[in-house]
Amino acid sequence: MTYTTTIDSMPSRHDNPFATCWTRPGALPFHFADGESIEQLITKLCGQRWWGEITGTHGSGKSTLLAALIPALVAAGWRVQAVTLRKGQRRLPDEFQEQLRNRHSGYLGASLRLFIVDGYEQLSRFARWRLTRACRRAGAGLVVTSHAPTGLPELVRLAPDGRLVQQIVRELCAQVSASVATADIDASHACHGSNVREILFDLYERHERLRRAARTPACAGA
């Protein structure tokens, strides 16, 4: 491989619209299906006595939806306690369990507390049973995410389609211009299915390669 110095531009997060700073939950707004909204979701959650499960495959937007849901719940007066479990984490963190045990903490009282567990299926059966029992006893709400149904009432099942992916990419490219074509997006979607995260990483690669190819000096060497 030839190592050739180039006149590099100033590196910046604006070089690539698919960099993680633009695509992480919270940075990228959650895109609801036609006719759905955060308010509808909260209404449905209320109808299920504030218990619900968000299901979807890897990269389908569960954490992104939570990032949109939490501020809406806080604005509605809920005291939200959220935790994200990593792969292999079979029990809840100590401070989270402490909050669960504390039924009467805060002047708001137990009835306005809502616990959120991102990655619910990571917990052991016993840990899940303890969590649901504690929430039931405390009269608290419980919203979880998992890759497959785990028995809680379904709040929403996420399955992003090609149209949604195109919409997300259009929004990202409105902020920072990209070199990827519609065919690239379709090809990536065909490869990764509803895993939007992998699609965006794939597009990151493509954009980066195209950007560098455009800067390759015209004179080729051996």
Binding site: M1, Y3, T20, R24, G59, S63, T84, R86, D118, T145
Partner: protein
Amino acid sequence: MLPTVPAVDAVTDSPGVRLAYRLPIDAASGWVSFTMAAVCLVWNTLVAVFVVQLGRGHLEGRPNWLLTWLMVPFVLAGLWTLFALCRQVLLNLAIGPTCVEVSFHPLYAGGTFRGFISQTGRLHVRWFQVQVVCEEQAIYQQGTDTRRATHRVYRAMAFSQRKFDIVPHQAFQTEFEFTVPNSAMHSFVSTHNAVIWTLVVRGRVRRWGEFERRFPIYVYPLAAKREPISETSLAAAGSAP
């Protein structure tokens, strides 16, 4: 002080025999054998418990043929882990330790440095290479998933030789030169991102296939450059013969 540039103590605390510094091998290389041993032990212990119970039943005239046939794939898998572990151990014994030394550390962009490699074992080598490699590594955590990405940005051959034998008690030894390109990025480590330089020793040997051993090296920014230490002054200080 050099923010985000890793310390070189692990290297500079280890004097070489032929050159100034001996490079420690990448810890990940040792984990392969350890992991294989752990998996083999756990799996075969569990399978053995069931096999013993089934054996007792057969001997006492109470054979459970359904469970016996169900255990066959598990036993075969256990035998395979044992075979793979034995092969790994024999591979490590056959290929032997690899020792890499460098004349100077830390390294700097644009510099040319000397290296020394010693490879022991009982091997018919098809090809043997030492490469200078630079990789970017990025970790991204979202939800329950942790995504680790690696991208190689530079690779250059420092040494290459084909078709030779390594015999026991007579290590293959050679010196080589390698260059860190001008304007190369220095070694960089932050919580989730890194730029890592490595000397990679790779080879293909008859009967055992390919092997690879990695030796981290550290490239410092030019602004931190100090005067190179001559081997004469090192010898006087007793750091090298």
